[in-house]
């Protein structure tokens, strides 16, 4: 059993710059923030270290932080420029029974995060979902396709309406010739 | 039966027609009552009510279904092989219908008293395989194809244990004729083949256990031949949607169903002829007791139909109790267990009958 602070110190010692900080002001759970392009080796360490043994990824959520600059379009809608998209990793150790939350943030214009698919197999579909709905690109993912939305969603829609869970998402007008808001 | 009707009417055309139409009416009746019973029996077994809206106790449910089926549009996909697609249900139905020609309903009520009755029945019911393969292939549907392949493999395999048991019975009775076989098991139920046949000797008691084995083998394999659970893998609805008749609708589909129920009764009849005295009454005839011999054929017909329905009910009972086997297990049951046991049984019965 280790608490978040101990885990953070251990990671900081091992990875230095790749581990950015510990958000403690959160009311329920402390979050360790890390660098999106180093997350794979951090994950491997978290899984394989004898003190940590995080053998199970509970949840992987892609989030649009909507912390960029909001630009009003002519038709009254808003688009967001800049800011970040984040991925939250909720980890759990079946054998040691402790939990930790990791967070990585990637710039909105180029949201690239390393895939942890070969660390925890269940990340596969979670990452596909985050790619599908939020538009985060997972590097080294073997099969990064849409999962919930139609495979051909891109062809029929503007860039703004590709990833529905982004905060500035706009419904496309047509999908395969069908008007969308009926 | 031809002679019987001819004596009654004195007209060749009418008697030929009656003889031909009688099995058809029987198949239709079996399907009509069978479908209704299947619903009611399954409902009773599963703690449900079953059909009860159409007529008293839902009796007209199947009639309503048939009316609906007739009215249905005959939707045919563009991609099917039309000729084979249309022939297949007819062929399947013809196969199961033709088997009735040689089945003796009573000593008078028999389409054809062919000397090779049992041989004919086994041969003609193989026609069904051709129909099923045609249906599966011509439908141009992968599920139909899988179902048809399974079905062909299954029916062809399970004919072997059936034939082996039939062979042992033929050896014992010395005849291929179904009506003669039934005649030999006359009078009371202890003369039935399952109780060692009519001859009273040491053989009779030696035969009983092997007759029982033979009966079980033939019952299981006929169950498989008519595609009933636990052997309904060709039409396993949870795997193959509806198997080889996935693409059929309306009357063509109804013909498959008709032939299924027709087959059910046919194999029940064969089992009862081979082991349970055919049309013979288990407790003697009322006609003999009161001296009205004209009554006997009707009594026999009653007993025959009753036995047939009894086995149909057993089939339904099994269907609603057991899960279904997998295709490889089904083959294993046939080739690894039924056929060796049937062979052994054949040899032992042969030895005993030589004693």
């Amino acid at each position: 059993m280790m608490n978040a602070e101990e885990i953070y110190n251990l990671l900081k010692e091992k990875f230095g710059e790749a581990v950015i900080g510990l958000e403690k002001e959160n009311p329920t759970e402390p979050i360790i923030t890390a660098s999106p392009l180093q997350i794979h080796k951090i994950s491997e360490f978290l899984r394989d270290n004898d003190q940590l043994k995080f053998d199970s990824l509970m949840c992987l959520s892609g989030v649009d932080d909507a912390n960029g600059e909001k630009i009003k379009e002519e038709d009254g809608s808003e688009i967001i420029k800049g800011g970040t998209l984040s991925v939250y990793y909720h980890l759990h150790s079946v054998s040691l029974k402790h939990k930790i939350t990791l967070k990585v943030s990637a710039p909105r214009e180029e949201p690239k995060v390393e895939s942890v698919e070969n660390v925890w197999k269940c990340a596969d579909w979670h990452e596909r979902e985050a790619f599908d709905l939020v538009g985060i690109v997972f590097l080294n993912h073997p099969d990064l396709r849409r999962i919930l939305m139609p495979y051909d969603w891109d062809e029929f829609s503007e860039e703004i309406s590709r990833h529905p869970l982004r905060k500035d998402y706009k419904n496309p007008e047509f999908y395969q010739g069908m008007k969308i808001p009926y | 039966m031809y002679q019987f009707i001819y004596d009654l009417t004195g007209n060749m055309i009418i008697s030929t027609l009656v003889v031909a139409v009688f099995p058809l009416v029987n198949v239709l009746l079996v399907a009509l009552i069978g479908v209704y019973l299947e619903r009611k029996v399954s409902a009773w077994m599963q703690d449900r009510v079953g059909p009860n809206r159409t007529g008293p106790y839902g009796l007209f449910q199947t009639v309503a279904d048939f009316v609906k089926m007739m009215q249905k549009e005959d939707a045919v996909s563009n991609e099917v092989d039309k000729k084979l697609y249309n022939i297949a249900p007819v062929l399947v139905f013809a196969g199961s219908f033709a088997a009735y020609a040689a089945i003796p309903f009573s000593s008078k009520l028999i389409g054809s008293e062919a000397e090779v009755g049992i041989f004919y029945v086994i041969a003609i019911s193989s026609l069904v395989v051709a129909g099923i393969l045609m249906a599966g292939w011509s439908s141009n549907n992968k599920y139909s194809l899988l179902g048809a392949m399974r079905s062909a493999a299954q029916i062809v395999s399970y004919e072997i244990p059936t034939a082996l048991v039939v062979l042992s019975m033929v050896m014992l009775t010395g005849t291929l004729s179904l009506s003669k076989m039934s005649e030999m098991q006359t009078a009371y139920f202890w003369n039935w083949n399952i109780f060692g046949g009519a001859a009273f000797a040491l053989n009779k008691f030696l035969l009983i256990p092997f007759m029982l084995v033979g009966f079980i083998i033939v019952f299981i394999s006929t169950l498989a031949e008519v595609n009933r659970t636990p052997f309904d893998i060709p039409e396993a609805e949870s795997e193959l949607v509806a198997g080889y008749f996935t693409e059929y609708c309306g009357m063509k589909w109804a013909m498959f169903m008709l032939s299924e129920y027709g087959n059910m009764f046919a194999v029940s009849a064969i089992v009862s002829i081979l082991f349970f005295g055919g049309y013979q009454s288990p407790i003697g005839y009322l006609g003999n007791t009161i001296g009205a011999t004209w009554l006997i054929p009707y009594e026999q017909a009653f007993w025959f139909v009753a036995k047939g329905w009894f086995f149909i009910l057993v089939q339904m009972w099994l269907r609603w109790t057991l899960p279904r086997l997998r295709v490889d297990q089904l083959m294993a049951v046939c080739w690894k267990y039924l056929i060796p046991y049937a062979f052994l049984n054949l040899i032992i019965i042969g030895i005993i009958s030589l004693l």
Binding site: C59, D124, Y169 | P323, L325
Partner: protein
């Protein structure tokens, strides 16, 4: 001489009798042998997560019903716990007891469908209808309490929508007494049926490390022989007060982690749920069930992750609040979604008929997979 053979691609679903909804499986088969399975999802995608961003916190509850529609109470519970964590409210004792009893009743009802449809997929239709007959008792108990039979909207943030019915305690006890012998009947009819064992034992074996690595949870994980149950290992609500066992797969009929083990874990879990209900039903304290429901839900900025043991596994809700009345982001970690991922691994080298057995033993609900 060797013949040139080709593999065939078979589309199973989205309209197929036993894919448990609109799941589409792309099977590559050689004869009856399955070479690979590729699931395609999304036919039932209803944008739950996007929807909840436009709703107030309490308005999301009815939407959670529609995730795992066979275990709605569990979904409500998970969401309520996550939101309460965010708000920092403590719910009254009475509410906790009723929640536990309801969740366990729901677990039994859900397992009934799972077991029944697993049997029905393999061809035994009768146990399925027997279980539906018994499920009716649970549904009517819940219906009397909250008025709905499927989508209950019963557990609210900080409380419950209705107090229990005056007859609730008596009827629940009646049900517990009624259902115990019925489990024996199910065992006799299906669990120890020779054909059923032949069809499920040694099929779709899931080793422990694969199960953990794939994030499997619920009976799918416990079927592989690992004693992990959130009610015991990460207790929420008041589960730590009750005494119950965690049934695990032991490979009684075949290998540990086969379909039969997963099936059997569910049967035994129903017994344990009955035990929990028996312990809880007599100790429901008096009180109000709506006392803690906040008038206006406006949690502070922050995140909360709560997970509960749903019948299908570990159901997690990740809620991010930006201090407004609407959640900023709600992410559902749906157990079926994660468990379904293993399907491809389990099905390799089995026959077409086994796919059905394996899918039935994983027990997915498409409402939850696609959200």
């Amino acid at each position: 001489m060797s013949l040139k053979t080709e593999t065939m691609v078979l589309n199973m679903g989205p309209q197929h009798p036993s894919t448990h909804g609109v799941l589409r499986l792309e099977l590559e088969i050689e004869g009856e042998l399955v070479l690979s399975v590729k699931p395609h999802l999304g036919y039932l995608h209803r944008c739950f997560e996007k929807h909840s961003e436009a709703m107030q916190y309490n308005q999301v509850v009815p939407y959670t019903d529609r995730l795992d529609y066979l275990a709605s109470i569990g979904n409500n519970l998970g969401y309520a716990i996550a939101a309460e964590k965010l708000l920092g409210i403590q719910v009254p004792e009475r509410v906790e007891y009723i929640r536990v009893i309801m969740a366990e009743l729901q677990r039994i009802a859900s397992h009934m469908v799972a077991l029944g449809s697993n049997g029905a997929d393999i061809g035994a239709l009768t146990p399925f209808l027997y279980l539906f007959r018994d499920r009716e008792h649970i549904l009517s108990i819940i219906e009397e309490t909250c008025g709905a039979r499927m989508l209950y909207n019963y557990i609210w943030i900080g409380g419950l929508s209705h107090d229990i019915h005056p007859d609730f305690v008596r009827k629940t006890k009646e049900f517990v007494n009624y259902f115990k012998p019925t489990i024996v009947e199910l065992d006799n009819l299906l669990s120890y049926n020779k054909i059923f064992i032949e069809r499920t034992a040694n099929i779709g074996v899931l080793p422990v490390d694969t199960a953990i690595n794939f994030g499997a949870s619920g009976p799918t994980l416990r079927g592989s022989g690992i004693k992990f149950d959130l009610r015991r290992d990460d207790p929420y609500s008041i589960y730590d007060r009750f005494d119950f066992d965690i049934p695990v797969g032991k490979g009684l009929q075949g290998t540990v982690g086969d379909c039969w083990d997963r099936y059997y874990v569910r049967v035994r879990e129903m017994e344990q749920s009955l035990r929990i209900i028996e312990q809880a039903i007599d100790h429901i304290p008096e009180g109000d069930v709506k006392a803690a429901i906040p008038k206006r839900i406006k949690p502070p900025k922050g995140t909360a992750y709560a997970r509960v043991e749903n019948p299908r596994g570990d159901l997690g809700y990740f809620i991010i609040s930006d201090g407004n009345t609407n959640p900023f982001r709600v992410k559902v970690r749906a157990p079926s979604f994660v468990n379904l991922e293993i399907l491809g691994e389990l099905c390799k080298g089995h026959l077409v008929a086994d796919i059905i057995a394996i899918l039935g033993s994983i027990d997915i609900v498409l409402g939850e997979v696609d959200r």
